[in-house]
């Protein structure tokens, strides 16, 4: 079991309030991702749940019982750090065994769990090595191994993949998702990465300056961003936000249209000149200037477009995909 509830949780460092009163429930078995710009309090929130920082007020409940004053060692949660935080003086085997040793698991049971974790994480050949003799990806797998053997109520991940190169990141992302499918344990995952958030999460929590801007499933946030901030934050490339006359025509202060919802057509509604064209093969990203709408309008077309710098294009937005926002930045129905 691993349901985690935050009730009016606040956190201040000295006079600075980093987390204003915040309520959030993470259901048992859920994969919950915290995203938000740098410094918005994602790590702080995770560390509050872990117990590595004390909350200033409010309550944290794990499976319904108040854990606010329970030390981290007793909360039954496991954490995977961005820096891996392996014990450098212990072998991989000893690293993985450490939480079980602390919990007083019998030696036979320890060995059984180490073997099965090592097999699942492809670490069998490295069990006798020190962390210093492993690659970044292997170290991260050891950190995950150390977290799973103690069978925690929930896993906490703080940007676990950000030190890895792009290819490894994709591989590890899949491994963590598979792990979640297999274990069905609650996971809370902090990331900067759009793709990680969209692909892994059951539920995304978008934070800004310690406030929750929106909570929802990835598609929910993608289709119905509650405000301009979420609209601009979720999705890559970013949603185009257009003000002025074009917005007024939709009775809105601002309208938003995602790059993938603008088509290059023969005689479209909008005209412009191609600035940079990014050819990815599968897709083409066009950065269009001189539309009279915004500085740069981003357009995403599937397949290869034979368009180059300086070419004139004609564009049509898909009207059913236009998001409308009022003067305070909130979504209009």
């Amino acid at each position: 079991m691993g349901q985690i509830t935050l009730e009016k949780v606040t956190k201040s460092f000295g006079d600075v309030e980093v987390i204003p009163p915040l309520d959030l429930t993470i259901e048992d078995g859920e994969f919950c991702v915290f995203v938000g710009p740098s410094g918005c309090g994602k790590s702080t929130l995770l560390r509050l749940i872990a117990g590595l920082e004390d909350i200033s007020s409010g309550a944290i409940k794990i499976d319904g019982s108040d854990a606010s004053d329970v030390p981290p060692a007793k909360r039954g949660l496991a954490m995977v750090f961005q820096s891996y935080a392996l014990y450098p003086h212990m072998s991989v085997r000893k690293n993985i065994a450490f939480p079980m040793k602390m919990a007083g698991v019998s030696q036979d049971e320890q060995n059984r769990r180490i073997e099965s974790a090592a097999k699942a994480l492809n670490l069998t050949d490295y069990l006798e090595r020190r962390p210093g003799q492993l690659s970044g990806g292997q170290r991260q797998r050891v950190a995950i191994g150390r977290a799973i053997v103690r069978e925690p109520a929930a896993f906490l991940f703080d940007e676990p993949l950000s030190n890895l190169d792009a290819a490894l990141r994709v591989g590890m992302r899949l491994e963590i998702s598979e792990l979640h499918e297999r274990l069905k344990t609650t996971m809370i995952y902090v990331t900067h990465d759009q793709v990680e958030a969209m692909t892994m999460a059951d539920k995304i929590v978008v934070l800004r300056a310690g406030n929750i801007e929106q909570v929802g499933s990835p598609l929910d946030l993608y289709k119905h961003p509650r405000n301009l901030f979420v609209a601009g934050f979720i999705g890559s490339p970013k949603m185009n936000l257009i003000e002025g006359e074009a917005a007024a025509r939709h009775d809105a202060k601002t309208i938003g249209i995602r790059p993938e919802h603008i088509e290059v057509t023969e005689a479209g509604e909008w005209q412009g000149r191609v600035g940079v064209a990014e050819h990815l093969g599968s897709d083409t990203f066009l950065h269009v200037h001189d539309t009279g709408l915004t500085d740069i309008l981003t357009v995403r077309s599937t397949g290869e477009m034979g368009l180059r710098h300086g070419d004139c294009v004609s564009l049509s937005p898909r009207h059913d995909q236009i998001h409308r926002f009022d003067a305070s930045g909130l979504r209009m129905a």
């Binding site: 030390p71 060692a73 954490m79 750090f81 392996l86 014990y87 450098p88 003086h89 103690r150």
Partner: protein, 276 residues
């Protein structure tokens, strides 16, 4: 980080390093050489460097005239004792200051360092009087206390800077893994700090072994360590350069040998953190 250094640069660096090392070592070398001369040769002008009549007379005289092993044992007890007592006090203090710093931690550290700027003679009279009143004059225990106190700021500073190098996340990981404070210190913190603790131990034994102000002023016959043994040969009545040198050589030999065998550990400890 490895930068290509031309061979010429390397040769110059090596030569400069050797010259500096020889300059530093020369007084010790001269002392050792003098200890094998006769008293007349020791003060000969011009002095002879290697071509004199090598003799062991000074050593036999010194050995016959004073109790080398008694002083040696006092030195061991005082230097090792004060260092270990200092570590027992300093390890928890340095942990606290490195991992749970408070608002005043920096000030406390600076204050401790500032006590090292005071000339020891400034507190000689009060300490002497206190020692006289509580009966610690000329006792090994008294010296252990004094040397521990004067070296404590250095021990704490050294340990503090080693501990600061240990990433806090590793300790947090231990906490998340279910380790209480005791397990955290025992299984994670201490093993990681061993190089730092070892080099602090070695350096402080050396400092305490060589300390001459307090060991000379607070001791007479019973607890005098090797520093007092050397000093007893620098008498105003006559010139005993050769015997003084022999005594000095005998006094520094144990610590030189210890330093030689532990130099790897010492250097590693002293440059801890400088190389990632």
């Amino acid at each position: 980080m490895a930068r290509a250094v031309s061979n010429q640069r390397k040769a110059i660096n090596t030569a400069v390093a050797w010259i500096i090392a020889l300059l530093i070592f020369f007084p010790i070398l001269w002392t050792i050489l003098t200890s094998f001369k006769t008293e007349a040769e020791a003060i000969a002008d011009p002095p002879s460097f290697l071509f004199f009549n090598w003799t062991l007379d000074n050593y036999t005289t010194v050995q016959a005239r004073s109790d080398y092993f008694g002083h040696f044992w006092n030195s061991v007890v005082i230097s090792v004792g004060s260092t270990i007592l200092g570590l027992i006090i300093a390890i928890p203090s340095a942990w606290a200051m490195a991992f749970v710093p408070g608002k005043q931690t920096k000030n406390v550290l600076m204050w401790m360092l500032s006590t090292k700027m005071l000339p020891p003679v400034g507190v000689l009279v009060p300490i002497y009087l206190i020692f006289r009143d509580v009966g610690l004059l000329d006792t090994r225990f008294g010296l252990v206390i004094v040397l521990m106190l004067i070296n404590l700021p250095i021990i704490i500073w050294m340990l503090y800077s080693y501990f600061r190098e240990i990433p806090g996340e590793i300790l947090e990981a231990a906490r998340m893994d279910g380790a209480g404070l005791r397990s955290e210190i025992l299984y994670v913190l201490t093993p990681m700090a061993v190089p730092g603790i070892a080099s602090t131990l070695l350096l402080n034994i050396i400092l305490a072994w060589n300390e001459a102000f307090w060991t000379l002023t607070l001791t007479a016959a019973n607890s005098a360590p090797l520093t007092a043994f050397i000093a007893s040969y620098s008498s105003p009545e006559g010139l005993f350069y050769a015997k003084l040198s022999a005594a000095s050589t005998m006094a520094i030999a144990p610590i030189l040998i210890m330093g030689w065998f532990s130099q790897k550990q010492l250097v590693r400890g002293l440059t801890f953190g400088a190389v990632k």
